[in-house]
Symmetry: C2
Subunit: 337 residues, 2 copies
Amino acid sequence: MPALAIQAPYLLFLGSEKSPTYAKTAAGLAHWRPELCMGQLRLTPDTLDLGLPDYDVTEAAANGAQTLVIGTAVVGGGIPEAWIQLLVDALDAGLDVAAGVHTRLSSIDRLVEGATRSGRKLIDVRVPPPHIPVGTGVKRSGKRLLTVGTDCALGKKYTALALEREMKARGINVDFRATGQTGIMISGSGIPIDAVVADFVSGAAEVVSPSNDADHWDVIEGQGSVFHPGFSAVSVGLLVGSQPDAFVVCTEAGRTHIKGWPSFELPSIEAVIQRTLDIGAQVNPSIRCVGISVNTSMLSELERAEYLAQLSSDYGLPAVDPIALGVGPLVDFLTED
Amino acid sequence: MPALAIQAPYLLFLGSEKSPTYAKTAAGLAHWRPELCMGQLRLTPDTLDLGLPDYDVTEAAANGAQTLVIGTAVVGGGIPEAWIQLLVDALDAGLDVAAGVHTRLSSIDRLVEGATRSGRKLIDVRVPPPHIPVGTGVKRSGKRLLTVGTDCALGKKYTALALEREMKARGINVDFRATGQTGIMISGSGIPIDAVVADFVSGAAEVVSPSNDADHWDVIEGQGSVFHPGFSAVSVGLLVGSQPDAFVVCTEAGRTHIKGWPSFELPSIEAVIQRTLDIGAQVNPSIRCVGISVNTSMLSELERAEYLAQLSSDYGLPAVDPIALGVGPLVDFLTED
């Protein structure tokens, strides 16, 4: 399986974006993988500044950059016409170009011509690799942790990355495994699981976390929710193919309904735990929940402490806010026996 | 949504196939939709005979045929080179050409040229339509029955078609809804659900069974099994998008393991019922099981009667062999209150 791979060091392209929200890929890379980010390219002086050295494509290439990463998403997911010449220049300067936006780089003739001329690659992170096999369900060596959720967009990727960092700091043999475009940009490899054809979703998850050393942990980025009215197929296929030994439930304090599906109440943490155990046990009978990770940004500091303590007491599991407090208690619990 | 549609009457193309197993699309069409099948085209005298009039493409077109349907699947799923000229002749004679094999008709230059020249269509039944929406989960009017399974290939399509026929015979307002290539050939429309990108599986299921009259039943062809190690994402997405009011569990007497996955025991009927209720209730709290449909071809007539009686007693539900005995008791149970 030719897993998608993006060569570092990266030059992060920010266009003229001023909002961190729309630059979350670049910001995520700078936050989680500073060692891979050699610089930034900003089109205007008031473009968001990630605190990296500013380069143009020629300077970046001369300083060893391998890939220009488009680190922003414009509304609509396109590549603005005004960027095309700069991307062609990047290819001609000897850089690959990687993007995770909806528009495929390979659908733009001038970029394809530039890549052919320079011998560099266009990397469309949203496009799954070819020849993904059907899932086998056969147990693989090594250990796996999956972050699951009550909904989309409440910290599954962040929690997985924080777990990887904390486990690495404790000397554990661990890798983050990406299943979405921003995660793939951050880790440099992975499969955009939601873009895989349904018959191959669990097979893709098997490819994402292959057999490994017996003491090795894959921390796999979850997607969606098993209760999601639109995306449960993605979540179930990922769960079945991941065969996790452990999982962490991610949620957001104060969220009452599935985001964008206002007629669906957010499932309870208890329901998510039970359904994840039910489905996960099909492929790994020893699956267990090792904690709860909550985005508590809507709460005050005092409310947060009370909320997490109550959750922890209710479920007999560690409950953390990974941004405010880190994920140490989850790793304590995971490794305590 | 431009649902795929195949224009009748059909000329069934059997190549030189001698085995009913590899001619199951043609045989299924002749069995379930005889009124749509105006003739057959066989390349040799010893080719399988479906009892339809033999025509060549010119005669068939002169007699009103609209579509040549490739009704056989060769091992590997290709279109033999020896057929191409005949398919071009069919296009030139004024027929569309439809196929459900892996090789796309539209990937063969001579066929594309023929279709352009004649103004007729190439219909690749395995290719989902473009622009499938994400599932909304919003309840649609009309009633829905889904056939689910303990595994693949044990009668979900047959059971659904038999239910449609039996319900029609009783004057019920009903339509079979196809989700696989053979079913699509038989019904003339549908979406090959296992070929849809994961994010859109439940949305595709919603498109397959749109809002309808309050007294109308969609009988939806199920796929795979919620317990399948390779295909559960397909089954779950189809279940969530179908929002069934009723479901029938399909199984095979004597099958002990998931076919092709020898380390996985066949799930129990009870487990399939419970999991289907659990997941189905996310989008339709009134979901219920209305019976069990069993392929008992491995049993003697006496064994079959005992086996079905025992199942019926164990579950308090009608249990039938749809081929040997029909599905009348399932429709009795479905309509009794």
